[in-house]
């Protein structure tokens, strides 16, 4: 079983990202379980969403304690206790950052990937009045970095679940898939 945590700020679409990934894994024959962190919704506040993937039925009914993958929509979240809770040395982390890869590791010692999802989203005009919509780019980056899911399944899931600008969102995932870089220690 693989456990994934996606964290963003309220309004950035972390919950939808976990649904897209869930749907993509489900399409290729996995059992999945995706769920948001519990609590009232508030724009801008840290929000986490979780995904469990397995080849057989998942019957666990509690939060993900130690994610194998952590996907951060905002580099500032690295300092957030709630977001980093349960992250261990063997957790792989993907961070959305405008810093070029290789320039700093946010003080992280785990395996680290960086993608400039904000620029990708901006380039495709994926934004609301207050946020760049980086969730689909982050999903694409996850596909490449983890190697757990193929881009076609991710694109198909985006096509089904994203309500607007389907083409641009698929393009964002593709672009991030191509651009995500591992940062060496």
């Amino acid at each position: 079983m693989i456990e994934i945590k996606l964290s963003g700020r309220g309004g950035q679409g972390a919950v939808l990202a976990s649904q897209i990934l869930g749907s993509a894994f489900f399409k290729i024959g996995n059992w999945v379980q995706s769920f948001p962190s519990f609590g009232a919704e508030r724009r801008g506040a840290p929000v986490s969403a979780f995904l469990r993937v397995d080849t057989k039925e998942i019957t666990l009914r509690y939060g993900v304690k130690h994610p194998e993958w952590l996907v951060l929509f905002d580099p500032g979240l690295v300092k957030n206790k709630m977001v980093m809770d349960g992250v261990r040395s063997d957790t792989s982390i993907i961070v959305n950052s405008t810093e070029p890869a290789g320039k700093g590791r946010f003080g992280l010692e785990q395996r680290l990937f960086i993608v400039d999802a904000t620029s990708i989203a901006e380039g495709l005009n994926l934004r609301t009045t207050s946020f760049s919509i980086v969730n689909t780019a982050m999903v694409g980056a996850f596909a490449k970095a983890s190697g757990l899911i193929d881009l076609d399944s991710v694109s198909a899931a985006i096509g089904e679940l994203v309500p607007v600008k389907k083409e641009e969102n698929i393009a964002a995932a593709k672009e991030a898939y191509g651009k995500v870089k591992e940062v060496s220690l």
Binding site: G22, S23, V32, F35, F38, G39, T59, L60, Y62, G63
Partner: protein, 381 residues
């Protein structure tokens, strides 16, 4: 066909497929997505129903009772404080023998505010004469709602399907969606034997003598008893149509084990995973309670044959007494030949996680602890 959906979406879809003619609901977290989903089904013409957007849960149940009196199939959903607000009318609905279907998305009762799950909201309705069914998965949420309509309309009692808040209501997972044609065959339109009909007028619910009241209460008890058989038969029919088998009490890998963890709701899923992983080594299996009212005493006694100890994990608390399931189970098995020791555990109140590691520690403690019969074990976070 399998689709990803949350427990709430599955319950709402089942309600839609059951084709209730009257729906009345008032929003409350974590039930809201059911209220929203049904509103959208009705707005898009996918469900031919009158959706009454009431001003309170009291009115939600009252409106459902009104619809039921007209002979219609009716549905509502609520949670926590909302269910508590319905309490008076739950008595009324069962006394008036109105088959209202209620989905309760379990959530702790205030104060203080909490959004997490425990079962005090639904278990507080224990003595209202309302049937109670608990769900482990989104699939069960869908299936139990369909079963509930059939059961309620057969035994003429309100029926509540309970979904754990968040762990079920908000977890998205694969659900096998039945064909509408099969649902229509399994659950044809309601044919109300008693209804308010100007061509055949009756007065319902007026004053009665103590003797008549006594007789009617006795009748509810005997109909609750018969609901156990009905439930069994309906589950057999359900299996014929949909190939999924349900029982009032279900056991999992208890052969050759001396201890069973007894649970209801989604906790059963975590215990199931624990038993799969460590059950052999630790000597534990799972007994899961699907029905709480009527309490399936006979089936429970059958299910626990051969076990040496029961560990009842209650996600609820009756202050001054303890876990409610553990009391009910003690009473159900009292007097059987080899009296089983029961360890009463309170866990997961307010939505506190109960993990495999927690269960592992619990079983170790019980193995080491000797006679824990007179204590309550608290699985604190």
């Amino acid at each position: 066909m399998k689709q990803l959906m949350t427990g709430n979406e599955a319950a709402a879809l089942a309600a839609k497929m059951a084709k209730p003619q009257v729906v009345a609901a008032y929003p409350i977290t974590p039930q809201t997505s059911i209220a929203e989903k049904l509103a959208s089904y009705v707005a898009r013409g996918e469900l031919a129903s009158r959706y009454i957007k009431v001003e309170s849960e009291t009115s939600a149940l009252a409106a459902c009772m009104g619809g039921s009196l007209a002979g219609a199939r009716v549905f509502t959903a609520t949670s926590s404080q909302g269910l508590a607000l319905m309490h008076e009318l739950l008595h009324w609905a069962s006394g008036a023998r109105l088959p209202v279907i209620i989905v309760d998305v379990n959530r702790s009762m205030a104060a203080p505010w909490s959004l997490g799950v425990d079962h005090n909201d639904s278990l507080s309705q224990r003595d209202t004469g309302c049937i109670q069914i608990y769900c482990e998965t989104a699939q069960e949420a869908l299936d139990n709602v369909l079963i509930a309509f059939k059961l309620a309309e057969k035994v003429l009692l309100p029926t509540m399907v309970c979904l754990d808040g968040f762990y079920l209501s908000h977890y998205s997972e694969p659900v096998d969606i039945p064909e509408q044609a099969d649902v229509d065959r399994f659950l044809p339109r309601r044919k109300a034997k008693y209804r308010m009909d100007p061509n055949d007028p009756f007065t319902f619910g007026g004053g009665v003598s103590p003797q008549v009241l006594f007789g009617l209460r006795k009748r509810i008890q005997s109909d609750m008893d018969s609901a156990l058989d009905c439930f069994r038969q309906i589950c057999t029919q359900f299996f014929r149509y949909f190939k999924r088998r349900y029982r009032a009490v279900e056991s999992f890998e208890i052969k050759g084990k001396d201890i069973a963890l007894v649970t209801n709701g989604t906790l059963s899923g975590t215990v199931r995973a624990f038993v799969e992983q460590n059950g052999k080594e630790k000597g534990v299996g799972l007994v899961k309670m699907r029905l709480f009212r009527p309490f399936p005493k006979g089936e429970f006694k059958k299910a626990i044959k051969g076990l040496k100890k029961l560990v009842v994990i209650d996600r609820n608390l009756s202050p001054g007494s303890g876990g409610i399931f553990s009391q009910e189970i003690r009473s159900a098995i009292y007097g059987i030949e080899a009296a089983l020791p029961i360890v009463s555990v309170i866990g997961g109140l307010g939505g506190v996680d109960v993990s495999i590691e927690d269960l592992d520690r619990l079983v170790d403690r019980i193995r080491e602890g000797g006679d824990l019969q007179d204590e309550t074990i608290w699985m604190e976070a």
